[in-house]
Amino acid sequence: MNRKIFLTQSGRWVLLGGLAYLTGHIFFKRKVSASGKYVWQIDPFKCSQCGRCATQCVRDLSAVKCVHAYSLCGYCDLCGGYFKPNTLSLNTGAENQLCPTGALTRKFVEEPFFEYTIDEELCNGCGKCVKGCTSFGNGSLHLQIRHDLCQNCNECSIARLCPSDAITRVPIETAYQIKGDFINPALIKPKG
């Protein structure tokens, strides 16, 4: 086989391989956008709450925000996402709060239940409350990329450094992966 034939055949095989990969990706990955548009999003079940979302986003105040799945929340007085671990008194004093920007607020509902809400203008996406909620509570607080703020960079600078590969491109039709609606893919059992 001379060099020209070798290069021609190699090129064909590379092209064929690429086409096979693309076809397989389209048919088996299923995460295909009907409109062909994709956005960056965090898989809340992969997120390890490392805090990098606050520091790595190209936006001045990160496009990552904490969101709350109210259906999963226990509405507890002692909230692991709101209070620092081992807080002595359960009041709204700044010294007791875990959130560095005071973005997580709580409202009394009825004894002994409290509702927790996030002020997104203050939230910097650090995920401290998420880690507290996941470690000590039901995991109802979690991080999501807000698409009205996200610049949808070609390469997300947070995804580049995410230690748990939790940030991927998802079809724009399923732009948010809110816990409660979004089920951990690892727990989905095949039928039959």
């Binding site: 509405y75 671990p85 004894e111 470690s135 995991g139």
Partner: protein
């Protein structure tokens, strides 16, 4: 332009690109990144003084990949419930029996030679060979049984769905229900923020119910009147961490409580009065964010922990002094 100059420029350009790539890779290495000011460190709570750990893991029994729901110990055997089956395993890990169940079980307990299994909102009784003896009436659509305990001719069932404890005769007759309210006009009795609501009967016959929202263990009379309680709040090793706990309990032959917590998973032994006696399994033995293991206690005081995430039974025995 001289060919040599062009080649030199291209080589320099290539070297420059390689330098930038190497610099970028080195800068982004995990150990080269600056400390993150927003990271929440929980290592201090995961680290336990080794002097407190008075148990050692003596055996792990690996289970198959199907979902496990609960564990009990009786007749010197380990009884497991899974997706839709009852399984009996010897303490060495040999499967002795496996029977299909008519539905998904949620909890199990054994008394003498009878096996009581909760199925969301009803209870079925089986003999030691796995044959169904009786099926009790449903406790209602919103009932969710999470724990059962039997003593003499009475069975107590923890119903997380309706936040109450039901008292049955062992023939299936419903005798009473109590919701843990200290006064009749109190807003809440049992507070159950997550799907964990456990109860157990001590060797002296006392009924203990976990009130997870209060991080408390409450002692009730057979009529459902609160007799006493103790609670321990705190992320450090002496308390129960988080919003609710303990998630699972079992009682040792000397009346001490074995407790398992969720989130920051750890298994501990508390004296009947509530003080921490020892640590069975520190958080380092469990993966982060895993489920609280279900617990059972053997006749010699050995502790069986059903690790839902690793799909194994982990057996702990007290270290010899």
């Amino acid at each position: 332009m001289n060919r040599k100059v062009i080649i030199s420029i291209l080589i320099l350009l290539a070297l420059g690109i390689i330098f930038l790539v190497v610099l970028d890779i080195r800068k982004n290495r995990t150990d080269a990144r600056p400390d993150n000011p927003y990271a929440l460190g929980l290592e201090e709570f995961a680290t336990v003084d080794s002097a407190l750990v008075k148990y050692r893991e003596v055996l792990d029994l690996e289970l198959n990949e199907t979902e496990k729901r609960g564990i009990a110990f009786g007749m010197e055997k380990i009884w497991l419930i899974g997706d839709d089956y009852l399984q009996v395993i010897s303490t060495e890990g040999e499967q002795l029996m496996k029977r299909e169940l008519p539905g998904s079980p949620t909890c199990i307990t054994i008394y003498q030679s009878d096996i009581y299994i909760g199925f969301t909102n009803l209870i079925r009784v089986y003999d030691y060979e796995g044959n169904q003896k009786s099926s009790w009436a449903s406790a209602g659509d919103s009932a969710i049984f999470t724990s059962l305990a039997v003593r003499d001719s009475f069975l107590y069932a923890a119903d997380a769905g309706k936040r109450r404890v039901l008292k049955y005769r062992t023939d299936g007759t419903l005798l009473a229900a109590f919701d843990g309210k200290r006064e009749p006009d109190a807003l809440h009795g049992f507070i159950i923020p997550s799907p964990y609501f456990d109860l157990a009967i001590a060797p002296d016959g006392e009924l203990w119910v976990v009130n997870p929202g209060n991080l408390a263990l409450e002692n009730y009379t057979p009529e459902g009147r609160l007799r006493g309680y103790w609670n321990k709040t705190g992320a450090d090793i002496n308390g129960f961490s988080g919003c609710c706990g303990p998630a699972q309990i079992a009682i040792l032959p000397d009346g001490s409580f074995v407790t398992a917590e969720k989130g920051l998973v750890r298994i501990k032994v508390h004296r009947a009065s509530g003080e921490l006696e020892s640590v069975v399994a520190p958080p380092q033995l469990f993966a982060n964010g895993t489920h609280a293991p279900d617990l059972a206690v053997g006749s010699r005081g050995e502790i069986y922990a059903l690790d839902f995430d690793r799909k194994m039974i982990r057996i702990f025995e007290r270290k010899k002094p």
